[in-house]
């Protein structure tokens, strides 16, 4: 192996800094240019093929990247409700092409489940805080409330009963954390090209979201709540 150190006359490899200034390229560091790479030198066969292979690889990489990009641009999208825009106007119950509507209430437990007088569950001023039908806000009895360890409650929406009327959402948003919200349920929605509810939604709350992540749930960043997920 040749001595990489300065040749007579002295010199330094710019990239690696070895040797002394003014020296010819005697350094063996990877950064040092080799004679065959000098401008004007004839490329060898190996260099030619090496270059060709590198070019082909770069081309292929570009093609694959653009294909992936195009594919991801074309990911299927579906309709969803932005719960931070929805004003719970009741149109979701009335305008879906399906009966009952594909829009259902969801209760986001990480945001709330603590209220004894839950305004998403009870009528304003109920006769008693019991599960009797006349005390419940839901006109169809779609919300099931179960006491967990005191003081927590769990809510289960019976989706076959929920008509998406948003009455529970009004109660919850007005008084509470907004853990009750409407969502288009994708096990029902037929993903109309033009969602009939989106056309009439007064809050512009319908948006297209990627089919791979089809739900929009509130979180603490929006609601600024200490216990929200």
């Amino acid at each position: 192996m040749p001595d990489p150190k300065p040749t007579p006359g002295g010199g330094a490899c710019g990239p690696c800094g070895s040797g002394e200034a003014g020296a010819p390229a005697a350094c063996n560091c990877d950064a040092a240019p080799r004679a065959a790479d000098a401008v004007g030198a004839d490329p060898t066969r190996r260099q030619f093929f090496g270059g060709a292979v590198r070019g082909a690889f770069v081309f292929l990489l570009g093609a694959v990247t653009s294909l992936v990009a195009r594919h991801s641009q074309k990911e299927r999208t579906v309709w969803q409700i932005d719960p931070n825009k929805c004003i719970a106007c009741t149109n979701c119950a009335n305008y879906c092409v399906l009966t009952p509507s594909a829009v259902k209430c969801v209760q986001h437990y990480p945001m709330c489940g603590y209220c004894k007088l839950c305004t998403g569950y009870f009528e304003p001023q109920p006769n008693a805080l019991t599960t009797a039908a006349e005390n419940q806000v839901c006109p169809t009895g779609a919300i099931e409330r179960k006491a967990l360890e005191d003081p927590y409650y769990e809510y289960n929406i019976k989706e076959e009963l929920c008509i998406g009327c948003a009455k529970c959402v009004v109660g919850c948003v007005l008084f509470g954390n907004g853990s009750f919200a409407l969502q288009v349920r994708h096990d029902r929605c037929v993903n109309c090209n033009e969602c009939a509810i989106a056309v009439v939604c007064p809050a512009d709350a319908f948006v297209r979201v990627p089919a791979s992540q089809p739900y929009l749930l509130k979180n603490r960043d929006h609601k600024d709540e200490p216990h929200a997920a």
Binding site: C86, K116, I157, K158, V173, R188, L217, E225, H227
Partner: protein, 345 residues
């Protein structure tokens, strides 16, 4: 399995599991605006079926015979995002607006101001004129000119300070994040925690669904704390013995409605309570024993609170001076409203 059966009882857990749960914050960038409706897509002609509404109308009107206060004055907050207020011993009205803390005279003239490093969530004035400023996870002590004298970190992780009370020797702080009330000395040293769940002592523990968890030291030398999930006041000795409770959940005027109410309160010089509720924005007065007495301002005084369902209802903090005037932080109107008892009342 039949399709209808498949759709039955999709529980919260199953929904969250199946949904590929997506926090909205993270999702915003992926949401595409909905395509413009086709030209022909005018509103569908389909008639809107009548659905039973969530009916609060009867609670939005107050029986005039119960309103024993009148508006005596109001002035705009010098900055947007008015949130908390308290009265200092030198007749200063301290306001918070975002990161700013401003001292005004009782006519609204500015006396001093300073800016905190982050949003101010609560404040309390000590009898000697010092001010406690609560940030989310920190308490700062400032002098009457707004110069910082001390800074105390929260005693627990994930703190979310919501209210402060300052006595001559003790400081109390409520932490909604940990559902805890701390007793500190003026060096910031933790002396104890009050009101933790204790079945044997009949203490329920705090239920705090949202960051409204107010407290104040009474002239009875008790610490009064709102246990908001239970719509109830609890009074503790400074060493944590539960002495009194009162308050009932109700949409009716005598009770506390909705969730996390009363959101804020203050005491009048004679020991009566002034309470402020969210949802149904109403300010009321209760006797020192907790008996409903009168209304200062009913929901009809704050129509902005009903304009937009998704304008998060921001509760209105209250303070009272020695003359019995009540100062209300009208957060949506961004102004301080001052009420005095009607002469005829």
């Amino acid at each position: 399995m039949k399709q209808s059966e498949q759709h039955q009882d999709l529980s919260r857990r199953r929904f969250l599991r199946g949904a590929g749960l997506l926090g909205l914050g993270g999702a915003v960038g992926m949401v595409s605006p909905r395509p413009a409706p086709a030209a022909a897509a005018a509103k569908p002609a389909r008639a809107t079926e009548a659905r039973p509404a969530y009916d609060l109308e009867r609670f939005r009107k107050t029986d005039p015979a119960l309103v024993r206060y009148e508006l005596a004055g109001r002035f705009d907050s010098p900055y947007p995002e008015l949130k908390r207020l308290c009265l200092g011993p030198d007749a200063s009205l301290w306001l918070t607006a975002g990161k700013r803390v401003v001292a005004l005279d009782l006519q609204g003239g500015k006396k001093t101001e300073f800016t905190a490093s982050e949003e101010v969530r609560c404040l309390a004035a000590a009898p000697d004129g010092r001010l406690l400023v609560g940030l989310k996870e920190r308490i700062e002590v400032v002098d009457a000119q707004g110069r910082r004298q001390a800074r105390w970190d929260a005693p627990a992780k994930k703190a979310w300070f919501t209210s402060l009370a300052a006595g001559p020797a003790d400081v109390f702080a409520s932490d909604a994040g940990n559902r805890a009330v701390y007793r500190l000395d003026w060096n910031g040293k933790l002396l104890g925690r009050l009101g933790e769940k204790d079945k044997a002592a009949g203490v329920s523990g705090y239920v705090v669904p949202s960051p409204y968890f107010d407290l104040e030291i009474g002239s009875d030398n008790l610490l009064w704390v709102v246990n908001p999930g239970f719509h109830r006041f609890q009074a503790f000795t400074f060493d944590g013995r539960l002495q009194q409770t009162w308050g009932d959940p109700s949409f009716a005027i005598e009770g506390f409605c909705g969730c996390c109410n009363p959101s804020y309160f203050t005491r009048l010089a004679d020991g009566r309570f002034v309470t402020s509720e969210k949802g149904l924005a109403r300010i009321k007065v209760y006797s020192a024993a907790g008996k409903f007495e009168s209304v200062v301002a009913g929901p009809e005084e704050f129509p902005k609170y009903f304009e937009n369902l998704n304008a998060t209802p921001i509760p209105m903090d209250v303070a009272a001076d020695s003359a019995g005037r009540i100062y209300v932080a009208d957060t949506l109107g961004n102004q301080v409203r001052i009420y005095r008892r009607k002469e005829s009342a």
